[in-house]
Amino acid sequence: MDSLIACKGLRHAYGRKQVLHGLTFSVESGGIFGLLGKNGAGKSTAINILMGFLRPSGGTCRVLGEESHALSPEVRSRIGLLQEGFVQYDFMRVAELERYYAPFYPGWNREVFYDLIGRMQMPDTRRLSAMSNGQRSQVVLGLIMAQMPELMILDDYSMGLDVGYRRLFVDFLREYVTLHGTTVLLTSHVVQELDRVIDRMVVLKEGRVCACMGKREFMDSFRCCSFRRTPASLAMKSDDTVRSIEHMAKTTFVYGFFSEQEIAAYLERHQVPAADLVSVPMSFEDAFVGLTGKY
């Protein structure tokens, strides 16, 4: 399967501050791919490089076979781009936006756009600046969908949306992807909702990839166990097995890609008493926080 996005050894620095440290991941055709990470993980930098607004300091990033910072118009016509904050020409009306973009995309599908607009029962004579954030998000999504792109890059689709519009957005997206087989790369800060959306994911932490796998595989392999907090547990340090450690008043939680038996053996080797070791069920959000840490 050809990769629609292929990043290899991606590095970027702002002056002397290194932000990305050799990112390597790829996005295959089909499904929804999540680019996740906490604030400051390097997510925005990676997205800006993918979208072509930054040239990486090192490594390569290819989108649909071309360098991301030098995409040809033909390739750009195959990419649907949502910018953070639903950036669009606010001074245009809905119908004007549709008429403006149509000639630039060979596969432009008017019906898809107006189908979405129609569901919101919004007049196409309304200016974008006169709409709420939620309505804007639908119009912008409609414009992207009407392009019939091969690849969609959605940077923080959830920004400024209430739960209702976020659900609406995701539902439309899911429906579209199922119908048309478009590949989607998205980011969002509302991690708990991504559980319903993404098929695969890459998680960034301090400019490095700390997980790159299917979401199901992640949930199946990433575990949380708890045991009584002791001085020995307080002295524990994270490593490849125990990815993060959290101490509560009386309990220590450990997170990592391990089974219950593997963690028990690990703790015994490190002379950490864990007679009361139990496995803790996690939601997707819990697992994400466990992998990336709270701070």
Partner: protein
């Protein structure tokens, strides 16, 4: 780009502009109405003739509101650029599946076409207003040449406005300011009509270069990604414009700060001592407010104030009378104080007089008025378009008085005038005591006098031949009635004698007619001339004393003050070091505005300045501001420290990041 895509891009521009485009006709109509009403009120106050007279001789800026075309340009730029660049909207332009340069080109082309339409409309309104009052082309042309710089400024302002509102980068905005501010000063300055006549095309070219400023500002947004040739080229042009602009401002500032105290000296020929006497007025920081000038003879003998004035009895008659020092005779000629007071004439001629827009129209007075005083005529005259005749125009309706025009044209021809007319000169001042009419030079180098006597033409040919190209015919009626006036050509100075109507060449030697100030003093004993120029100022001032029939009796060269000369040379050398390439608008000896670029006079100092600037630039580059382009080094090598400054301004964003990090 397909036709449909082009249509879409144009449609987007239309949508952006529709919000404020209605302001444009309002501003234009306001400009036109204001100009029309200004002329209307002049006409109501002074009549049609008075209106023309005011325009011709006072040159008021009745069309001043047309400067609003610049405001229109800024408005268009704002309407187009601001919505395009808010938040991260410029990213939409870059992601649209066309070459970004194509999108930018459509935006700028739309705005430029709209601006040109605005300017065409403004021109049409201006010309219509002028036609309403029947102004002839001789008035319309120079007046329009005064509005045209604002039209060119509007083009530069439009592109600068697009650039400014498109970019959020402090560095880019500083560059825009550095480029626009000087051209704003140059083209926005008020003055006499038609001062830009000789260089309007150069200013136009520079104004259109600002399109690259707009391209650079928009492409700068993506400077961290792709860097095509369009970005590199537009950056280079923008940087050069900013360097030239900032360089011209800093050079002017430099001279304002360092200008040395200019010793003011005057030189007059003394009929008593038969040599020149010099008065030297102290100036500058060292001089006390009430410091007395010093007075000297040529040989350096110091004179007291009384002795100085006694040496110039014609000039200081009243002082000498008051001091009871007035002599009974001067130079062996018995003369009373009253006679002495009326026995001299002084004329100052300067290349500024002829290196300036010529008079738009002329006014031929009736030389034999009914009463004692001269009266204004009912019409003006001009040289016909092809130079083969005189045309009289009636201000009331702007129509040519064909019979009168034919009569005067034929009268000149009958007197032997060979057309086309090469030069015209007269003194249309009704306050003078008598009128000698106008003097015209024909194509064979002969001089003719043309008067209107009892409404009819009276023309005659004067003795003598004019050599060289006539720069000015200076006519001034004087109670001494010795000269009609003087003629300056590029080779010679002539006096037009009133007694015998002959041309007499004044033996002043060689001079540069484009850089000359000449003072002529004439009394019953001697005629003296002093010449100076910017070039000569460094050698000295030349004085020539002659008998009334222009036989040279004495010559003197007053050397320039050595201290002053030394100061000027040092300052020029330092200016060359700081500004190897110098951009100026004014040139010595001319009222016209010329945009000039020249290399500094002191080449060694200029080259040293370039080397110094390269060293400074290399040191700064090592600090890591991103100034590493080879072309930047080439700019520094040519333009010196100004280029370093501008390049630093262009990287203000990097500089701010650097200071924050350190």
């Amino acid at each position: 780009m397909t036709k449909q895509q082009l249509r879409s891009l144009i449609s987007k521009e239309r949508i952006k502009l529709r919000r404020g485009i209605w302001l444009l006709p309002m501003l234009l109509l306001y400009s036109a109405a204001d100009s029309l009403l200004a002329l209307h009120s002049l006409q109501r106050a002074y009549g049609s003739f008075g209106l023309w007279e005011t325009i011709v001789f006072r040159q008021p800026q009745f069309f001043g509101r047309y400067f609003l075309v610049v405001v229109c340009a800024v408005l268009i730029g704002f309407l187009q650029a601001w919505p395009e660049s808010q938040g991260k909207r410029l990213r939409l332009l870059y992601h649209t599946p066309i070459e970004p340069v194509s999108g930018i080109a459509v935006m700028l082309a739309t705005g430029t076409i709209l601006l040109l339409l605005v300017n065409i409309a403004a021109t049409a309104l201006f010309l219509g207003t002028m036609q309403w009052f029947h102004f002839p082309r001789e008035i319309i042309h120079p007046a329009f040449l005064t509005v045209l710089p604002w039209i060119l400024l509007s083009i530069a302002a439009y592109y600068s406005s697009v650039a400014f509102f498109s970019s959020g980068s402090p560095g880019v905005r500083l560059l825009i300011g550095a480029a626009l501010y000087p051209i704003w000063n140059m083209l926005g300055a008020r003055g006499a009509y038609g001062l830009y006549e000789h260089s309007i095309w150069i200013y136009g070219f520079v104004a259109f270069l600002f399109v690259f400023v707009a391209c650079y500002a928009i492409l700068h947004y993506m400077r961290h990604a792709a860097r095509g040739s369009a970005f590199v080229f537009s950056r280079m042009i923008t940087i050069i414009l900013a360097i030239c602009g900032l360089g011209s401002v800093l050079l002017a500032l430099y001279w304002k700060i360092v200008i040395p105290a200019d010793p003011h000296t005057s030189m007059h020929f003394s009929p008593v001592h038969r040599q020149f006497v010099i008065s030297d007025f102290p100036a500058g920081k060292g001089a006390a407010p009430d410091a007395e000038p010093s007075y000297l003879l040529e040989n350096g003998t110091t004179l007291s104030r009384e002795q100085y004035r006694a040496a110039l009895p014609f000039l200081y008659v009243r002082d000498l009378v008051k001091w009871e020092m007035f002599p009974e005779s001067i130079g062996g000629v018995a003369i009373s104080a009253l006679e002495a007071e009326r026995a001299w004439q002084f004329v100052r001629l300067s290349s500024f007089d002829w290196n300036s827009p010529p008079p738009m129209l002329h006014m031929l007075l009736e030389s034999n008025p009914a009463g004692a005083r001269l009266q204004k005529p009912d019409d003006f005259f001009r040289v016909s378009y092809d130079g083969y005749g005189i045309e009289f125009l009636t201000p009331h309706n702007g129509i040519t008085d064909r019979p009168k025009s034919r009569a005067f044209t034929n009268a000149l021809g009958d007197a032997g005038f060979i057309y086309p007319i090469r030069a015209v000169g007269g003194n249309p001042d009704v306050r003078k005591r008598y009128d000698v009419g106008y003097f015209l030079a024909d194509s064979a180098g002969s001089l003719f006098q043309m008067r209107m006597v009892d409404g009819k033409p009276a023309c005659r040919r004067l003795e003598g031949h004019i050599e060289g190209s006539v720069r000015q015919i200076h006519i001034k009626e004087h109670h001494r009635q010795e000269y009609y006036g003087f003629i300056v050509t590029d080779r010679a100075l002539y006096a037009v004698m009133q007694k015998d109507g002959a041309l007499k060449r004044i033996p002043v030697g060689r001079f540069n007619a484009d850089d000359l100030t000449l003072a002529l003093w004439s009394d019953i004993l001697y005629t003296s001339v002093s010449l100076e120029s910017t070039e000569m100022n460094y050698a000295g001032r030349s004085g020539i004393a002659m008998t009334p029939d222009f036989r040279v009796v004495h010559r003197y060269m007053q050397p320039t003050d050595a201290v002053y000369l030394e100061s000027v040379n040092v300052l020029k050398t330092f200016a060359a070091f700081l500004f190897p390439v110098q951009i100026m608008q004014d040139i010595s000896g001319s009222s016209f505005r010329y945009l000039q670029v020249r290399y500094a006079e002191s080449v060694p100092a200029a080259l040293s300045g370039s080397v110094f600037a390269l060293v400074v630039f290399a040191l700064i580059s090592r600090l890591g501001f991103g100034l590493r382009r080879g072309s930047d080094y080439a700019l520094v090598a040519v333009f010196g420290l100004t280029a370093v400054l501008v390049l630093l301004l262009s990287e203000t964003d990097s500089f701010l990041s650097f200071t924050r990090r350190n």
